[in-house]
């Protein structure tokens, strides 16, 4: 039951007309699921909007929304839009000091807060930012005796709204009718890990297009259920729980509390689910631990059928041809293992599940797909409504984030950066024309800051942050060669438990070489089990057996790279295992344990020269700082090892 309305308030009103009695929102309260129908939702939105209007909220004003996923807060989003105002969801776990910046930046005068905790924070903000005039709270607990000016409960505001509505007949409808698709629908703040947060302005048109693309791709509509449990200020939640909700007309389900999400999910049995990779990982860990405690026959059955699932499960889900015998066995497995397992995970009715936000481990991804959970990836950022690429059913490849979403054009810049143009690209950064100009070019392309490649089917593979990506020098020193993504290769290396850190060089060189740090604990264990005697880190790192062990890992990574398009040239040619651990105390790593590539290249210039100079070993003395501040010298002769390389292969799905 899609409607073609072009603003969010109109979408809501259309649903209220077309499916008034269908459930729009549910919330578990006092142990019982409470339901708002579309008609009830529209009515509350109207009351709330009129209440805001009665306090003087007008077109162009911003309404800050602070709290967890509560139905009233989602209604507040649409209510602000009904008046041509702009909702500004903020992260509820931000401390007052961080919140002040956003409240100030967005000139907020009206706020709706979830509860006492948030109200206290806002009152604290108001001490430095007195223009916050009205604070509306949803949950009155603990707030009974507050008498600060401008504080009002949700119920009271709706009451004012009904009176205002009666006194100004038609005003609300005029407001909704006046809304334009080009109006800013929401301001979402970027997390601000790099510099201070920026408010991303997205219009009704962009978010509706992004929502519609997702809804049509996965055929979502009335009858579908989604859990809304991720922060409302995060673009992903806004896409799933607001844009797709209002476009598709399915049902939002708000958990009883942040802790009960898993239980609530099992009760609802959502058909549509989103979680960051760590959620999926946490679920799998919980299952694995419980399986280890199970009785022996059950463990045997589990191992047996999971092996089958790993072999054919993903193919069955992708619709690839699978033999009759395997199909039959998978059917039995579905009855005895996969089905019950999905039930425990709350995923019995899942048609579509998405993950994004970080790279998902291959084993994890395969596990869910193999037991029949249609887990897919998408790619996007706040500036693109989290809507750039998504994986289509039947075309899911682990390495990629899928093809361009409907209405989106992708282009890879000469330096490897992913450029995006299309329906979901931001209008601007709020009050920051300078920042807007930096990311939006004259042709309307948004510069994502991520480096990626497109494969033969047009699927995007994100490999690195663009600023880290370099270029290989072509053999013979001619023009620029292949793209070189150091983090991408290093992450592949660090995937091995034996390798703690890796540093790759290759920018403007004709080959890639690497420094490796072994993981002292893992490799030490390995050495002990093999009866290999060693006297400390330096000794262990120099053992020929250890070098062979690392060479094996590198050969596997090279095989991987050879199979990937555009990566074959960046296979590691030579490596050496460093004689000391890279350490933040020696400035080799940042405090968050990121490799400082430039600094290391300078400090160990002798070694780098040796790697590229065709030597077979190199002596080095390094000063190290001990924890008590004294310094000492570590010296060693490091062997340089040639790594096994592979001929480029055609990518296999």
């Amino acid at each position: 039951m899609q409607t073609t309305a072009n603003t969010f308030p109109r979408l809501l009103l259309n649903h209220a007309k077309q499916q008034p009695d269908a459930p729009a929102v549910r919330e578990k309260d006092l142990g019982i699921w409470q339901t708002w129908t579309w008609a009830a939702t529209a009515r509350e939105v109207r009351d709330f909007a009129c209440g805001l209007a009665s306090l003087g909220f007008k077109a162009g004003d911003n309404l800050a929304i602070v709290g967890a996923n509560r139905p009233h807060l989602y209604m507040a989003v649409v209510a602000a839009q009904c008046l041509r105002g702009v909702p500004v969801p903020l992260y509820q776990d931000a401390v007052a000091g961080e919140m002040v910046f956003m409240l100030e930046d967005a000139s907020v005068e009206f706020v709706i807060a979830e509860d006492q905790e948030q109200v206290d924070k806002l009152l604290e903000c108001r001490e430095t930012r007195p223009t916050i005039r009205h604070i509306i709270y949803d949950d009155p607990r603990g707030l009974r005796h507050y008498d600060q000016p401008g504080l009002m409960s949700y119920e009271k505001l709706c009451e004012l709204g009904r009176a205002w509505d009666a006194a100004h007949p038609g005003s609300f409808d005029q407001g909704v009718a006046a809304g334009e698709p080009g109006d800013v629908a929401v301001i979402l703040y970027t997390s601000g890990t790099t510099g201070r947060p920026k408010g991303v302005c997205q219009t009704h048109a962009s978010f509706i297009a992004a929502g519609r693309g997702g809804v049509e791709t996965d055929k979502l509509g009335p009858g579908d259920n989604i859990m809304s449990y991720l922060p409302m200020a995060w673009v992903g939640d806004h896409l799933f729980s607001v844009a797709q909700w209002l476009v598709g007309g399915f049902t939002l389900n708000c958990p009883e509390s942040a802790e009960t999400v898993m239980n609530d999910m099992r009760e609802i049995g959502p058909s549509y689910y989103f979680g960051p990779p760590r959620t999926f990982e946490g679920l799998l860990t919980a299952v694995s631990i419980r399986m280890e405690d199970a009785a022996a026959p059950k463990r045997w059955l589990y191992a047996k059928f999971m092996a089958l699932a790993r072999r054919v499960g993903a193919d069955i889900l992708n619709g690839a041809p699978v033999g009759f015998g395997d199909r039959l066995m998978y059917g039995i497995g579905n009855l005895v293992i996969y089905g019950p397992l999905r039930n425990v995970l709350g995923m019995s009715r899942i048609r579509v599940a998405y993950t994004a936000g970080a790279a998902i481990g291959p084993d994890l991804f395969r596990f869910y797909r193999s037991i029949g959970v249609n887990l897919k990836q998408f790619y996007g950022q706040t500036e693109t409504c989290a809507y750039v690429c998504l994986q289509r059913d039947g075309k899911v490849k682990l390495q990629t984030v899928g093809g361009a979403a409907p209405g989106i054009e992708l282009k890879i810049a000469p330096d490897g950066e992913v450029l995006v143009r299309g329906v979901s690209v931001l209008k601007e950064y709020y009050k920051r024309p300078d920042a807007t100009a930096e990311v939006l070019d004259a042709d309307g392309y948004f510069h994502t800051g991520d480096a990626g490649v497109l494969d033969a089917e047009g699927h995007l593979r994100i490999i690195d942050r663009a600023k880290d990506v370099g270029r290989m020098a072509a053999p013979g020193g001619a023009a620029a060669g292949a793209m070189f993504a150091p983090n991408y290769i290093e992450n592949k290396l660090k995937f091995f438990p034996q390798i703690k850190e890796a540093v790759c060089f290759g920018h403007e060189r004709d080959q890639v070489c690497a420094f490796i740090n072994i993981d002292y604990e893992a490799v030490g264990n390995w050495a002990e089990r093999r009866g290999l005697a060693y006297g400390g880190y330096v000794d262990l790192a120099g053992k020929p057996d250890v070098l062979a062990l690392v060479a094996d890992c590198i050969a596997k990574v090279n095989a991987d790279l050879a199979a990937e398009e555009g990566m074959a040239d960046t296979q590691i040619a030579r490596f050496m295992v460093l004689h000391k651990e890279l350490d933040p105390d020696d400035d080799e790593l940042t405090r968050t344990r990121k490799v400082r590539r430039g600094f290391i290249a300078g400090k160990y210039a002798v070694l780098v020269d040796a790697l590229y100079g065709g030597k077979s070993e190199q002596y080095i003395e390094t000063q190290v700082k001990f924890e008590d501040g004294r310094t000492g010298v570590v010296s060693a002769t490091l062997g340089i090892v040639e790594a096994k390389r592979f001929a480029p292969m055609k990518a296999a799905a």
Partner: protein, 261 residues
């Protein structure tokens, strides 16, 4: 932040003396508790704090003295009568049904409010069912209030200690008490659990206007959340007043820190 009004004296303890054989647990103790206040009883180990609570609660019957509750004068209290008058308590060593769920444990606190008979309750027949639904709703509000929704169906014995204490508080709250006696609600808790519990105690006081009498060892907590403090030492009252007054009281300092000889 709150404008909670402290009312008239609701509970007045006069000249209580309690002894077990030759051991004098309490000697001539008098103090009062005002409506809506948070009143703490502190003192070193063996000072008689729990005995004092047990006298108010009707578990012990003091040899001398009297207790006035809401204008009614008692020589000593009777525990059922006390409960019916709206005094609930939690215990230093938890008194919960370990094998029963959180929900059922808190339901037991509603027992006094149930009117229908045993048989009707067992059959969930007519009015009994309606009554149980109403009681259940009340219990759900407490579960919501104490933020233990996740553990609603979990047997209490499987919960960590800090949460069990919270369930114990929930069971006491289910009685809709006017006065809540808390016996060391924060014993054995870590800092975070103590903070949570302090917040819940203040919320109960603020939200329901419940008068609270608590025994506690953690001085920081006591000084932060109480309106007035009574200090006992060897069964005698050595201090009474606001946290600041008590903190500066010479006798109290001596009892806690010892004297210079």
């Amino acid at each position: 932040m709150s404008t909670r009004k402290i009312g008239e004296v609701i509970l007045d303890v006069q000249n209580i003396s309690l002894s077990f054989g030759g051991v004098k647990a309490l000697t001539d103790i008098s103090f009062n508790v005002r409506e809506h206040e948070v009143r703490a009883i502190i003192g070193p180990n063996g000072a008689g704090k729990s005995s004092m609570l047990n006298c108010i609660n009707g578990v012990y019957q003091p040899q001398q003295g009297s207790i006035t509750f809401r204008g009614q004068h008692f020589k000593h209290m009777n525990s059922r009568q006390v409960a019916e008058m709206g005094v609930a308590r939690t215990f230093q060593n938890l008194a919960l049904f370990k094998g029963m769920s959180v929900l059922d444990n808190i339901m037991t606190g509603r027992n006094l409010k149930m009117k229908s008979g045993l048989l009707a309750q067992a059959l969930r027949w007519g009015p009994a069912e309606r009554e149980e639904l109403a009681q259940r709703e009340f219990v759900e509000r407490i579960i919501d209030f104490l933020e233990i929704q996740l553990h609603r169906k979990t047997p209490v014995g499987r919960l960590p200690y800090g949460l069990q204490k919270r369930v114990d508080l929930g069971r006491a709250l289910a009685m809709e008490p006017q006065v809540l006696l808390l016996d060391e609600p924060m014993a054995g808790m870590n800092v975070e659990e103590k903070q949570d519990m302090s917040r819940f105690i203040l919320d109960v006081n603020d939200e329901f206007g419940t008068t609270i009498v608590l025994i506690e060892h953690d001085m920081g907590v006591v000084m932060d959340i109480s309106d007035r403090v009574v200090v006992l030492d060897y069964g005698k009252k050595i201090g009474d007043g606001t946290p600041d007054e008590v903190r500066n009281n010479e006798d109290v300092i001596r009892a806690y820190l010892g004297t210079e000889h």
